[in-house]
């Protein structure tokens, strides 16, 4: 949707205008919220990398592997999809030290979010790999292409084009989920705005800015995802 990118630009302009108009008021809480935004972006990017890696590995294993590797993938997917993200974060941060593995808040947040979303992404990856026509696999066997090349050169490039919309949705969910990292003592946008709200009691302004920031992040991801989908599916024949 093109108008939405216009809305985002409008919101940014509105924010800029707001900061000029009532600068003295905003100066109290905007810097803290923007510092939180930097943390949110950092956590989002790092956990996105873990999420993508895990979903591709577990997705391929779930679709193609057999025996112990398959059961490992199934176990990972079911456990991390079945538990709540907040519980996973708590478990990583407060219980893992009992097992002799103390994590920094950033590491716990990134691992928790990445592993949790990787389990959801693995199901999307599995579906996309399954959606690549069987003829492609048969053709590679007929051409005597090795299993590794079959996966990396033939199946995955086509599967990636299919999985992009689902992955874009999950990426937006992931950015939203970073709001939970305040549970492991990180000061992201959400926690910063709660703190600032308790200091200044400007609920509407502070939370309007926070919600807008998240909305803008989500719209940029959606916009980028549409462009990426266009780029990746250009060379594929139009089949529905």
């Amino acid at each position: 949707m093109v108008p939405r990118i216009a809305i985002v630009i409008g919101l940014a302009a509105f924010l800029a205008g707001l900061s000029v108009a009532t600068f003295a008021e905003l100066k109290m809480f905007l810097p803290a919220i923007l510092r939180g935004a930097v943390v949110t972006v950092q956590i989002s990017v790092l956990s996105w990398l873990v999420f993508m890696a895990m979903s591709l590995i577990a997705g391929v294993a779930r679709a193609k592997a057999s025996g112990a590797v398959l059961w490992l993938a199934v176990g990972y997917i079911e456990v991390f999809r079945g538990t709540s993200l907040l519980v996973i974060l708590f478990w990583l941060f407060f219980v893992m030290p009992e097992f002799g593995l103390t994590m920094s808040p950033v590491l716990a947040g990134v691992l928790g979010i990445g592993l949790n979303f990787g389990a959801y992404g693995a199901e999307i990856a599995r579906g996309a790999i399954g959606a690549v026509p069987r003829g492609q696999t048969e053709a590679t066997i007929a051409l005597n292409i090795s299993p590794w090349n079959r996966m990396t050169r033939i199946i995955l490039p086509q599967a990636i084009a299919i999985m992009i919309p689902g992955m874009v949705n999950l990426t937006i969910e992931l950015i939203k989920a970073t709001a939970l990292v305040s549970a492991v003592t990180l000061v992201d946008i959400t926690y910063a705005s709660v703190q600032q709200n308790q200091l200044h009691f400007r609920t509407v302004e502070i939370f309007a800015i926070t919600l807008m920031l998240y909305y803008c992040f989500a719209q940029f991801v959606r916009f980028g995802g549409d462009a990426l989908e266009e780029r990746f599916s250009r060379h594929l024949s139009k089949r529905v």
């Binding site: 538990t83 478990w91 989920a177 959400t190």
Partner: protein, 221 residues
């Protein structure tokens, strides 16, 4: 690592049992709210007038693009400003309900759009009343895709309820945090909370599959 069974059975489990009730109540209440709210939002979104459908569409998009936790905090801090003081649990149920009604609206819409246009036209051609059109033709055909999706949202809501611990609702996560703070032992409480969610989700997923099969069999012969 030391896991203490006596601590688990004497302290953790009794408290968790009470908290499980709060979690289940929050889940059910939010789900009912989401079902009704989703229907209303869907009707607004598919309204003829763009003056109604456009704001509804943007509202749904906005709700879906912002984190539930921020929405919970917003409602939690905002409502008292308007002189509405609700208990945290009610505020939380309201927030989760609104958030998921935006998601359910999309599910309903997809379900109704999955019914081929020819079905509507056939109903008009056969001069069926609006009531009969919906009861006998449209709803039975749109249910099979809707039911499993709604079931998934029920599980999703269940897994969102730990967010209520941020506004001090005494549900499972909050209780395990409190136990951890009181005895300085997080291991048992947080692990049991995790197992509780895992087991309940797996059971729910199994039940959803049963219901899904039942709907498929009984409606689409």
């Amino acid at each position: 690592m030391d896991w203490r069974w006596d601590f688990t059975f004497d302290v953790v489990l009794p408290k968790m049992w009470e908290a499980a009730g709060v979690t289940v109540w929050a889940t059910v209440a939010s789900f009912v709210l989401a079902l009704i709210g989703g229907l209303i939002l869907m009707l607004l979104k598919t309204h003829r007038s763009p003056w109604i459908s456009r704001p509804a569409t943007e509202f749904i998009e906005f709700i879906r693009a912002t984190p539930l936790l921020v929405q919970i905090f917003f409602l939690f801090f905002l409502l008292p400003d308007f002189g509405i003081t609700l208990p945290p649990l009610t505020t939380g149920i309201l927030a989760i309900g609104i958030y998921n009604s935006a998601l359910c609206a999309e599910v309903y819409r997809a379900g109704f759009q999955a019914v081929p246009k020819g079905q509507w036209e056939a109903c008009i051609a056969l001069n069926l009343s609006t009531y009969r059109t919906f009861r006998d033709v449209i709803i039975p055909q749109s249910l099979p895709p809707i039911v499993p999706a709604l079931g998934n949202y029920l599980v999703a809501i269940f897994k969102e309820t730990p967010l209520l611990s941020f506004v001090a609702v005494a549900e499972i996560m909050q209780i395990s945090k409190l136990i951890g703070a009181e005895y300085y032992r997080f291991t048992e409480a947080v692990t049991i909370a995790g197992i509780f969610f895992l087991v309940m989700s797996l059971i729910a997923a199994f039940l959803i599959r049963l219901v899904e099969n039942y709907v498929k069999r009984s409606i689409l012969h």
